[in-house]
Symmetry: C2
Subunit: 355 residues, 2 copies
């Protein structure tokens, strides 16, 4: 019995991807070898890396616009320091919308001055600040597009007046259409909408690099990886392969526009129930609600055990909220079927009946 | 038909590991979830990480000796800079035995003075320098235990007189018994004897840390990862799981001592044939020959096509030498069966007959 997997990440991927990845561990491309035992320099794997990079650029609508897609290691946490290492000469501007923004700010401070242009810390990050301005003398502006823990998401990105925009899109990349050419660097740990944990997509506009006086260690220098097509050192072969399979699946689903429709449907279903059901209340400000992670609480804790028992009986997995927020979080990444959200909504209705 | 896989890395792993890993991609621990979609904070995965760390320490004979095993990302290439970032205050001593040592030296120079205590570059790294001394004022001494490209291996490690020894054991970790407590840091990309590409084992003696004045970004600080049991950020779940399976397999095979016997048998078989067969010659100095990677050449290039055709017909994969050396390289990591080496030796004998 497959579960309805609302895990915040690593999270559900398409079932067809699990099946293909499982088969490749036994016999990759009918080569008689496992994907785990082939050289990353082999023709077959070079083709995988190439396709993964091309699909990422294509799905973001960035073909011919001077961008390069890299598949690196170390997660967004490594990008927190790499972005600053490569771009921060004097001052950077950061928008603070939660735990991950705060961590990015902490790392950047090791490399220069950081101006926090706005923060929603005053209300435990339950909203996205608006009406801030990005200082004209900043080397770059950094923001987090979706806040997994708090369930908020930036709907309108600021106009930066030519200041390069760097965005951590770990938890909503490939989930909705945006003008991605507004960003100079987009980075995302794979383990939400793209693949298994173990690789990080970094999409870099090449012309923003090489402007810093600092010496950069090879592995931390975006130019190293661009020059070697993400093959400067041994890449995480299986994670890249599985990401490529997931990006292929996304393309078949109509790409970012196609999946956005499904994501909107799923989000409407759960938020409508949160707002309708007298036993629940949402955590995030309504206008800033995330399409990926719906955070909500029981108004009365006395229904906790009953709700969780009903959810478990319905084979629902991974809806406990993060400790900073409490309550519940339904993560509805690209691969989560509508019927999983419907199942959760039915449990919420059932609770109302039984309560 | 399975191939005889002599790939230099990523390389062959035990067939039973491929089967278990493939199954876990469909249904991990009979949970109804793929290993790729579970939270790294789930009880089941925390148990995997814990077992992997314990097995690494146990198999190296380092229990109760103040060491911590970490499973990180970024490969040995990231360790080149992390070792220096964490330990190099003024001066470090490096032994240069090939491509990977040279790369480690390049990165360390960004952080302080590097004294190259000896190098075998004069003979294209076909031997291991001896009779050098480690300066008493070095912060640490760094060496590469096995040189995959050149097929050399350090048999006797120097006495460092209390200077911490840091060793890149990427290509021979867990292959032979050593007094591992002589080392303060051992690091190794997983993709030879330990697992798939995508995780890096770092074994750190905790008391050598915290002695540096430099500020270290969180992800590059060994203390960050020690404090969080390799879970500071999302670890590469599948690579760690598959490494754990491989370490379990190694323990069942009698651990490092058990596998060493098999590795010695395989190495004797191929080197005896290289020395006996009048068509071939070895590349590395005899006393420094690697038990993992045998490098050899045809004395007369005119037999190249015939040799490679015979090898292909025998389902032999991955014996082309690295471009810096040319010729052939038979990588015989832990999981390579004796019969694969016997098959290659038979092909070498057959070439002699047909030539």
């Amino acid at each position: 019995m497959k579960k309805h997997n609302f895990s915040a990440g690593p999270c559900i991927l398409p079932q067809s991807v699990f099946e293909q990845a499982s088969q490749a561990v036994l016999n990759f491309n009918n080569s008689g070898l496992s994907i785990l035992e082939i050289s990353h320099r082999s023709k077959d794997f070079v083709a995988v890396m190439d396709e993964a990079q091309k699909l990422a650029i294509e799905l973001l609508g960035l073909e011919g616009k001077g961008y390069k897609a890299l598949f690196l290691q170390g997660g967004a946490s490594t990008q927190f320091l790499m972005a600053a290492y490569n771009l921060l000469e004097k001052k950077a501007a950061y928008l603070n919308t939660g735990t991950w923004s705060s961590k990015a700010i902490k790392e950047a401070k090791l490399f220069g001055e950081v101006e926090e242009v706005a923060s929603s810390k005053d209300k435990n990050f339950n909203y996205i600040p608006k009406n801030y301005s990005v200082p004209a003398d900043a080397d770059y502006f950094h923001c987090t597009s979706n806040n997994t823990i708090f369930g908020t998401q930036i709907k309108d990105f600021p106009t930066t007046g030519g200041i390069p925009m760097v965005c951590d899109m770990s938890s909503d990349i490939f989930s909705r259409k945006l003008d991605f050419s507004k960003f100079s660097i987009i980075y995302a740990g794979a383990q939400k909408n793209m693949g298994p944990a173990g690789t990080t997509l970094v999409v870099v506009k090449e012309d923003i690099l090489g402007k810093i006086s600092r010496e950069i260690p090879s592995m931390l220098d975006y130019q190293t990886h661009i020059g070697k097509d993400s093959m400067f050192n041994t890449p995480p072969v299986f994670a890249v392969y599985t990401s490529m399979l997931t990006l292929r699946w996304l393309k078949e689903k109509g790409g970012v526009e196609g999946i956005q429709k499904l994501n909107e449907e799923k989000a409407a279903l759960i938020y409508n129930e949160i707002d309708r059901n007298p036993l629940f209340e949402g955590f995030a400000a309504v206008e800033d609600r995330s399409m990926m992670n719906a955070t909500f609480n029981l108004k009365d804790e006395k229904y906790k055990d009953l709700f969780e028992d009903l959810a478990k009986a319905a084979h629902i997995n991974g809806i406990n909220g993060h400790r900073s927020v409490g309550g519940y979080r339904a993560s509805m990444y690209n691969a989560l079927p509508l019927k999983s959200v419907q199942t959760l909504v039915n449990v919420m209705k059932e609770l109302e009946t039984q309560a």
